[in-house]
Subunit: 273 residues, 2 copies
């Protein structure tokens, strides 16, 4: 397999360049080595970055691939003019046609995050994370009505990471509540959930996969046994069907995919769906 | 201010298209309304998406902006040929020059996430999230040595969201441990942290900002008073200096920026720094 060094360069955190660069590179049979260089905000740093790229190219005898999301033209120019890698200027490529379509000049302004910590969106996100932590695993019934979504499902079906992801990425207040053997015996949802039934969304999971996950935590326990996992999953799914709770199977899905699917179903008002 | 509808279309979750599209649009004085359409994996869905875009364009009397990260050529073609919006084909734009440089054909393969839940990277990430939750706010001293990083700082300095972000985004096991008045009285780090001193990274914060944040939780308390916040922050910073702990101020920084800065300083081995 070919190997290639891929630089991800940004005046901010470089997360956009990284997400995009990685997605593109997975389309090739290449063993990519990613180097993220964030906060390239001065001409000096741009020259330093160029030296690093060119040095890598010389040592490896192959042109490095260079994704940039740089906004400042002066800095992009330093890289364009001196870098011996293959430049993919994500920003410049799209900003010109956009300027034309919108009939507006772009700001070319770096540091859009500079005041983000004071913004409403940011504070909402912090509040959402705190809410989701406080309401993890049914820890409290306090203010469940304040949740945007409440995830339910058997232990280890993926509720916690999904809750945190929805809070962190979208600023949603997400509770999560386990469905446990007692609930199955009573054949009823946990009583605290009845008033907020419309906010519920279920996660299920393949019993074999659940058993594998539980075995990592508590090897050879009854809790982790395939038989018990089959029973719990069947009971949980039948309860969700009976009570009309929307649900999906988290098996083979990434957190991002689970979260996106939930958003499509729930369409929380505050996200303007 | 102009308004404009911006579609973010993907065969996956659409998160890449969203991150990038939003970053670009913040460069313009335009009130953008974002519509994310994930999981466009069939020609049928592509036609449906085109209808939605064209309908929006007609109603608003303005060309919608359309960012796509679609991989399947057949689906992109449906959109390219029928959509009356302004198409920004992020994938196609870069994949051709990449094919040339690498001397390889791209897979044009959708669903790179399909088996992600079985991958080592994914399992590491889950484990990291569990670790970080278990070690939130100094809840346990068990296996602190297993952490990649341990954040320290006064209560509400941003440790928890930063820990979770590092775990979720980078699969790092991040503990966090509060510095409390007792520690300042003893003028020593919490004893549990002494054996893992090299893993510590400090967060500080402007006392006024800290007081604002604490006042939201416990209004008019001594805990939240500016005087007390000044005292705690000064003590914490002096302790970090004295004990040689690297630290940064979280004031005015987004979680992403804090996390990126920490990574630059700490350079965790497992991320190949």
């Amino acid at each position: 397999m070919h190997t290639r060094t891929v630089f991800l360069i940004s005046d901010g955190t470089g997360i956009t360049a990284e997400t995009f660069g990685k997605a593109l590179m997975t389309q090739f049979d290449v063993a990519a080595r990613f180097v993220r260089i964030p906060f390239v905000t001065t001409v000096d740093k741009a020259h330093q970055t160029v030296r690093q790229i060119n040095h890598t190219g010389e040592v490896e005898g192959k042109k490095p691939i260079v994704f940039t999301t740089l906004v400042d033209m002066e800095i992009v120019d330093v890289i364009r003019e001196n870098c011996k890698g293959m430049l993919m200027d994500m920003f410049g490529t799209f900003v010109n046609p956009l300027e034309e379509e919108l009939g507006l000049k772009s700001h070319h302004r770096v540091g859009r995050f500079s005041d983000i910590s004071q913004s409403k969106e940011y504070l909402d996100r912090m509040e959402a994370i705190n809410f989701s932590l406080a309401h993890d695993d049914g820890q409290t019934n306090h203010d469940l009505a304040g949740a945007d979504v409440i995830l339910v499902g058997v232990s280890r079906s993926g509720k916690t990471p999904t809750s945190l992801y929805l809070a962190m990425q979208f600023g949603l207040k997400v509770g999560n509540y386990p469905l446990i053997p007692e609930d199955f015996d009573r054949r009823q949802l946990p009583p605290a959930l009845l008033p907020v039934r419309k906010k519920l969304f279920g996660l299920s999971i393949d019993p074999q996969r659940l058993s594998d996950i539980r075995n990592e935590r508590r090897p050879n326990s009854r809790y982790a046994s395939l038989e018990n996992c089959r029973h719990e999953v069947a009971e949980a799914e039948s309860m969700m069907r009976r009570t009309g709770i929307r649900w999906l199977s988290s098996t083979n899905k990434s957190i991002e995919e689970i979260a996106t699917t939930i958003l499509q179903e729930v369409k929380p008002e505050r996200l303007g769906y």
